[in-house]
Amino acid sequence: MKRFLRLGWILGAIGVAAAIAAPYVLPPFLVSILTLIFIAAILAASVNLLAGQTGLVSIGHAGIAAAASYGVAWASVHGLGVGPQLAIAAALVAAVSLVYGLTTMRTNGIVFLMITLALGMVTYGLALKLSTVTGGQNGLTNIARPEPVAAYWQFYFLTAAVLVTVLVAMQVIRQSPLGLTFRGVRDSESRMSSLGYSVATAKLVAILFSGLFAGVAGVLAVWNSEFISPAAATFARSAMLVVMVIVGGVGTALGPLVGASIVVGIEHWVSSYVDRWPTLLGFLFIAVVLFAPAGVVGAMQQLGQRWPSGGSRRRRPAVGVPNRDAG
């Protein structure tokens, strides 16, 4: 475990160094792909906070991010500065996450999934129908990125810094009593309530935190593309976030980043070279579910734990084994 932590430190340092070096060595186009990956990773991390910590899988998170995006977009189109843009986005995100939270805090499992799906569709519908505000299907154009991060590489650094901050914040939450409460809710609601915890409140808090991070991703996304349309709130987007989390590893700290790299990489980059990229993505997803059900990061952690201590510290013994036979 200790050695693994040290290895994690080294890898983290290499990662940060690589991220800082990227704009100096990579062509602008690849830097813009990295920016997209980082934004997707923040959004996937917000889904992961709910799915991994609290056991609530949301397939409506694109809706929360889109609310933030629309807030920024509307303010920017109306000539407001960064402050008001963020204020409007924050207000919208708070309102939307509160609606998500209040309607779902007494549910779990499939019911939670279905309600978030419905709420995501409502957000999409509103974006499509309130055309005087949102521009309808056409979306909003002429959105300006804030001046200090106008250049692509400046914006890249901003996104990278925000990603690091978000991942650290997630880790802090994870280690805090609040995080323990979340995991308690995930593992046994009845036990938590008999211990005197309010399960519904814990879930509401988790959803609000998750919504906050999703909102951050939404702001970055609209600044990145300088365009917003209802496509940002579609079911497909929300579902893709869950795919990212599952591919990366549910509940792992770096899973969302790895998952986002793979999914965004295929969608935006590999698709220029491979015609049947959706098939590729599908096969990859199936392979992960069959052979590495804990996701890429989860599988690597299991390997890392097994290696130094000769396999004696396997905490989740039989996870991948029976499935492998089935494949």
């Binding site: 100096y24 299907q137 250049a151 940002a232 935006h268 959706p278």
Partner: protein
């Protein structure tokens, strides 16, 4: 696990320092990235004044111009994107890729019908491939996203998407539409309906921008001539059951019903319900560009005979250009080309003719200005010119579904309305003073 928590403060501090450092770095310009970042990428305007650095570098050097072609060849509108690609390829196969002394090279990209992906692809085309021009994509939101980005980079784009505002309130000199706006063919449609003696109308359109604009065109034409629209019905895209909407039409029993459809399953289900309710012989139905298209006709065949529409691409029009295109396309792909294939063919036509004009040079707005100056006598749409916001002024056809010699069904022309403008008869200024068509704004006064 418990021992691990002791390390946390250190981790936290280290990570915070790391983040702060990253922010600091962000504040200073990386020298390596200095040259490409000189252009202010995020300027608030439409970027008409920004230096077209990329196109100056490439220009027509080495006798090649590079065109980026973005269409959705995967995802929910993959059929349209595939047709577009085929139309584009067929033009260059027929006419050769050497024109105006240069060779035209096309780089195809798939946007999956998603504006984010479309934007990434546009970036790749501009930054990696150094294209001189972008053609496509088709969906309104993807088109807006790409057109705005490309304009900021000084790269001209050709579009066939219907979204009205692209050549109206959001006009940019880098953008030329080689198709009609959604409302454009339907202004004469509304007027024609009144002239047929119809006095009351009900409209049925999908509930989003394309539907609002299509219905808006018809309503403006019809009420402008003196007719009365007694009811406007909006249905969600992807409606499975049209019976409630058809019942409403039946209850209203208007002189004529207008259907502005985006095509596909919606159009087919709608018409089947309309026929099942026995309204086919009771209430005359008028469609738009995309209602009784080839997808629809392949499905319904004889049942569709006699449907009248207002279109600008008519596969059965008696014209040498159209019939040469149709038979070549049929030979290669075994089906009559759709509006999307024809639109791409028309875009390629405009590119080729403009390159001849400019001697093989594509340079920012100059290329678009040259293209706008074209007067196409025999395009697949007919004789078209362009107005000063880069939209075609050309013929609109009143069509009817008829049987071809070989037993397949297609649209043929019954009446032609020449030189229809996107601003109808109002003129640019008066038209643009009014808001863009929406659910709540359907008729120009």
């Amino acid at each position: 696990m418990h021992r691990a928590t002791d390390r946390r403060p250190r981790l936290r501090v280290a990570a915070t320092v790391g983040a702060a450092f990253a922010l600091l770095v962000a504040a200073c310009a990386p020298p390596g990235a200095a040259s490409p970042s000189q252009a202010p990428a995020g300027s608030a305007g439409t970027g008409s004044a920004s230096a077209p650095a990329a196109s100056e570098q490439t220009g027509s050097q080495g006798g090649t111009v590079k065109i980026g072609f973005i269409s959705p060849t995967t995802g929910f509108v993959a059929a349209l994107g595939t047709d577009m690609k085929r139309g584009w390829e067929l033009y260059w196969e027929q006419h050769g890729t050497t024109v105006g002394g240069v060779t035209v090279e096309t780089v195809f990209e798939d946007d999956a019908g998603d504006p984010e992906i479309a934007l990434t692809k546009a970036r790749r085309l501009v930054e990696d491939e150094n294209v001189d021009l972008i053609a496509g994509p088709i969906l309104a939101n993807t088109a807006y996203a790409v057109a705005e980005y490309a304009a900021d980079q000084g790269i001209p784009t050709l579009q066939i998407t219907g979204a009205d505002d692209l050549t109206q309130r959001q006009f940019d000199p880098h953008v030329l539409r080689v198709g009609y706006t959604s409302s454009q063919p339907l202004f004469p449609g509304g007027e024609w309906a009144y002239e047929q003696g119809y006095r009351t109308a009900v409209t049925l359109c999908p509930d989003y921008a394309f539907g609002w604009e299509s219905c808006g065109g018809f309503v403006t034409g019809f009420t402008g001539a003196g007719g009365e629209v007694t009811k406007q019905i909006w249905h969600p895209l992807g409606t499975q059951d049209f019976s409630t909407y058809i019942t409403e039409i039946q209850a209203e029993s208007p002189d004529v019903v207008f259907v502005g459809s985006a095509g596909g399953p919606d159009a087919i289900l709608l018409y089947q319900t309309f026929a099942d309710f026995g309204l086919k012989d009771q209430i005359p139905l008028v469609g738009n560009c995309c209602f009784a298209d080839q997808v629809f006709l392949r499905e319904l065949g004889e049942d569709a005979a006699g449907i009248r529409s207002f279109m600008y691409w008519v596969e059965g029009r008696e014209s040498e250009t159209v019939q040469a295109f149709v038979s070549a396309y049929e030979e290669e792909h075994g089906e009559i080309p759709s509006l999307y294939a024809a639109g791409s063919y028309a875009m390629a036509d405009v590119v080729a003719r403009t390159l001849e004009e400019t001697g093989g040079v594509i340079e920012g707005t100059d290329f678009i200005t040259a293209a706008r100056g074209l007067s196409l006598e025999d395009s697949v749409y007919g004789a078209i010119t362009f107005d000063d916001t880069n939209n075609p002024v050309g013929p609109v056809y009143q069509t009817v579904v008829a049987e071809r010699e070989d037993g397949t069904y297609w649209n043929v022309v019954e009446e032609t309305f020449e030189d229809v403008s996107q601003f109808w008869t109002y003129g640019k200024e008066a038209f643009l003073e009014q808001p863009v068509f929406s659910r709540d704004f359907q008729s120009h006064e």
